[in-house]
Symmetry: C2
Subunit: 373 residues, 2 copies
């Protein structure tokens, strides 16, 4: 592909727009990747919901993100239709990059164009063992090394960290003097522990979090509400704690750049914690429970602190002023910027293209388009 623009199809979920209106990690990462690939001069086509905003060519299968149009339960069918559409268009591209997990595997396997699949979720479900045994030929990319541990026998062709748009995340000095928590209200995100960390450290904490969804008949949502009622709400009384609800991109950036530190007390092996990287981009160090991808993202003592308990996290808060915030920003720039991510994926695309038995199929003539001499 030596310097030439690569014709890339990006296949996004239809549940959220690209970028997402508010919450939505995968769609945010896809948006950052697409923007950067276009900026690098590549020819990018984005398959996504029609309310997406992108500089790439947009091919929408549905008019609006599915969570807005309320098409519950049959998301599966519309994603199958989307993948079928991509599959029929595949000859137009040098590479197809799917973000639909297992759903895309069958479509990619037999396509004339190579497909690669980024796995965005956790891989420790027991059923996935059999899935990756039966699909051990399908090229997959992990978003962290930790993520791939449960399925070492998958056909891993790369590890590309999620990246963020650095321009939207300005560097700050942490002048607000508070701790920040950004995330869902959910036991696995551990906002109650974040409050205990702040109370233990006797520091103010600002919580940017959406309340759980209205659909209380969903058992997961009900669990989040129970967690809110029993663990979170009683802890909100302290004058140190400020609950500011859901935030948009600008508010989040403002919150992070003025924070002394981000508290990230997760209770699950999160394959990648995007908000850690957003904090680093703003120069804000991260105090985190050492699980999942956390030790890959945070350098202990340099860009944050890896802890086991709430007490350890509270004690670490005292060291926050001694972290050089420019190092945090620089680490984000080097490892977690949209540019770093795009370079990582370009490397993957070139690896897969090189594997093709007949390189000619890589650049079929574009229909009805005059090629330059």
């Amino acid at each position: 592909m030596d310097g030439e623009p690569v014709r890339i199809a990006q296949v996004a979920p239809l549940v959220e727009s690209v970028p997402p209106a508010k919450y939505g990690g995968t769609e945010r990462v896809i948006a950052a990747l697409v923007t950067e690939l276009v900026r690098m001069g590549h020819d990018v086509t984005l398959y996504a919901s029609g309310d997406s905003r992108t500089e790439a060519r947009l091919i929408p299968l549905v008019e609006r993100a599915l969570w807005k149009s309320g098409s519950h339960g049959n998301d599966f069918l519309l994603h199958e239709a989307e993948l079928s559409r991509v599959s029929r268009d595949a000859r137009r591209y040098d590479i197809v990059h799917s973000h639909l997990d297992v759903l895309g595997f069958a479509f990619g396997r037999s396509s004339p164009t190579p497909w690669v699949h980024t796995l965005h979720g956790r891989l420790d479900l027991p059923e996935l063992q059999e899935v990756y045994r039966q699909f051990d030929d399908v090229p997959v990319v992990s978003i962290s090394a930790s993520q791939r541990r449960p399925v070492p026998h998958a056909n891993w062709v790369g590890r590309v960290y999620n990246g963020v748009s650095m321009e939207t995340l300005p560097f700050g000095t942490g002048s607000g003097g508070y701790l920040a928590f950004v995330g869902r209200i959910s036991p696995e995100k551990g906002v109650a522990d974040a409050i205990d960390v702040a109370l233990g450290a006797e520091m103010p904490l600002k919580i940017a979090a959406r309340l759980p969804l209205e659909r209380k008949d969903d058992p997961w949502v009900a669990q989040d509400w129970a967690y809110y009622r029993d663990e979170v709400k009683p802890r909100l009384k302290s004058s140190l704690i400020e609950f500011i609800g859901e935030v948009g991109d600008d508010e989040k950036a403002a919150l992070l750049k003025d924070a002394l530190g981000l508290v990230f007390p997760i209770n699950w092996p999160e394959p990648f914690g995007l908000v850690m990287v957003e904090a680093l981009a703003c120069g804000t160090p991260v105090i985190a429970r050492n699980m999942g991808s956390v030790p890959e993202i945070i350098h202990h003592g340099r860009t944050g602190f890896l802890c086991s308990t709430v007490d350890e996290m509270a004690a670490s808060c005292r060291s926050l002023p001694y972290v050089d915030r420019r190092v945090c920003r620089q680490d984000a720039e080097e490892r977690f910027s949209a540019h770093a991510m795009a370079l990582g994926y370009i490397e993957v695309y070139e690896k897969l293209a090189a594997r093709l038995p007949t390189p000619l199929t890589l650049r079929p003539r574009r229909e009805q388009v005059q090629l330059p001499a």
Copy 2:
């Protein structure tokens, strides 16, 4: 395929065993088809749960049917793994016949062996319009003409009625003098209407039906319980009505052959009502609400009665003794036996094989097997 055995892969859902322990229409139909194809001398491989019983070669992906092992929610992943397995084995077969609806489409499209997909469910969901637009090349079979009406633009390659094993359904004279209802307790199956038909006709009614499942947090199950509590239970008081619960195959056959008629007052466009055909096989005419596939299955006045209202159904009961039960049995034999179904599918298989651009791929040399001269 002129008289030669065809090498056929049958791909069944993993949720139930083949045949099913009790309830399970699709798995029952697959069992009947497999038995008949083996009897005809074909070389059949069945992909199904490990607790299936079959004379075909069984390739199990899971040890036990998923409803028994309680793997809720991730059935999708295991079915993807199953299809990937079939896909990798495909060269061993002349035809692959999938019963997994849309799930199998991507796998079949690009296989070296032709795949055909029988659609077992209803097709009037709005999302399916886009699905069948994007998969209009995938060969599909409907189980009735009525079923395919919502998606006329799919690539229909056949209409094959579901068939039943005639030996397990003995002819009877209806000597019990009662009406029968067989089905789920669910508004769309209309057991409350069946009771009103019996009361209106002043005839006894035997109800063979499983109570709804225990999982009351599922909104569909909750709806079935509400229907039972509000509509069914109050009607069970009459001495004419006997509720006999869930029945096995033998009990069902005994119930049907001694019944004067089957009441089938459905409230939804059922793509195929297997119990209608089981009744006909026992010589028992059917009084049905004229919806979905009903008018294709029942000949009004000859093998049953097509009605709109409960009153019409009650009035039709008086005509039941004038139906020639041998005509019902004969019609089942000709149109709805496992044999008729297998002949229908063989015709489909031959049609698809003939479409292959290179007939040679139809019978690839079997690895490590000496072919006769």
